[in-house]
């Protein structure tokens, strides 16, 4: 029954969006992490979405094909007292754009909500179908 497929479609989209939300929170939390286990400043991460085609069925969901690191250079802040400052007195900060991440977070939350409502509608329709003829 094709209505059952909607659960899989919405479910995959919700998984993908929550993964996006996870990455956003990691970026926001590390917006000031000037160093990490590899000794370099934290780099902003982004998820890559792609269409997930189910075998045989018409609908398709969403999957996260990978998490990429933002290649843009980090912000240089002049702070000669900082222990990680270079010879010129500059500290390389992470390349996280807090405003971009906030926008990303709201977009992910809205998409997630949309999928939840979609699932609710499909559930209502299916329950009504089950009670057909009673």
């Amino acid at each position: 029954m094709s209505l059952l497929n909607i659960f899989e479609i919405a479910g995959s989209a919700m998984t993908a969006q929550s993964q996006r939300l996870n990455v956003v929170s990691s970026n926001l939390a590390n917006a000031d992490s000037v160093t990490s286990s590899n000794g370099r400043p934290y780099r902003a991460k982004q998820v890559v979405f792609s269409e997930l085609v189910f075998g045989g069925a018409t609908g398709s969901g969403v999957k996260v094909t990978g998490v990429i690191e933002d290649p843009s250079p980090g912000k240089q802040v002049f702070d000669p007292k900082h222990p990680l400052a270079d010879a010129q007195g500059y500290v390389t900060m992470p390349n996280v754009s807090v405003v971009d991440e906030m926008v990303n977070m709201i977009a992910a939350a809205r998409s997630y909500q949309n999928n939840v409502e979609m699932m609710n509608t499909a559930k209502t329709l299916m329950l009504k179908t089950l009670s057909l003829g009673q």
């Binding site: 029954m1 094709s2 209505l3 497929n5 909607i6 479609i9 919405a10 995959s12 989209a13 969006q17 996006r20 890559v48 979405f49 792609s50 269409e51 045989g56 069925a57 018409t58 609908g59 398709s60 969901g61 969403v62 977009a107 998409s111 949309n114 999928n115 979609m118 509608t121 499909a122 209502t124 329709l125 009504k128 179908t129 057909l132 003829g133």
Partner: protein
Amino acid sequence: MTTLTPLDNLFQFHQNALNLRAFRQQLLATNIANADTPGYKARDIDFAAALRDVTAGRTVSLNASNGRHLGAATGNDPAAVLYRSAQQPSIDGNTVDMDVERNRFADNAVHYDANLTFLNSQIKLMLAALQG
């Protein structure tokens, strides 16, 4: 087409319509789920045309203007799936417009519900006639 009893005939139309509605609901769900997927193109069916085709017993096929053309593998789709022409496509190639999709999704759900109500009343009518 298989031979239908009068009872089958009575419910056939609503059965076809419900099938198409469920199929369309799935396509619209796919559109909403892929609202953030780069390069994804929104899909939909022409419901009126699809219902006309199904009611007339026609199946989905490609036009062949030459005898050597191959038919398309259409699978089990009850209707021809079309791409929506986007009003405001985004720069990543995605053509899902969330307002349009939500609108169609709700509209389709109400129609599905209406179909069920009609079918239910037909069933009740038939039961009343059978039981007296």
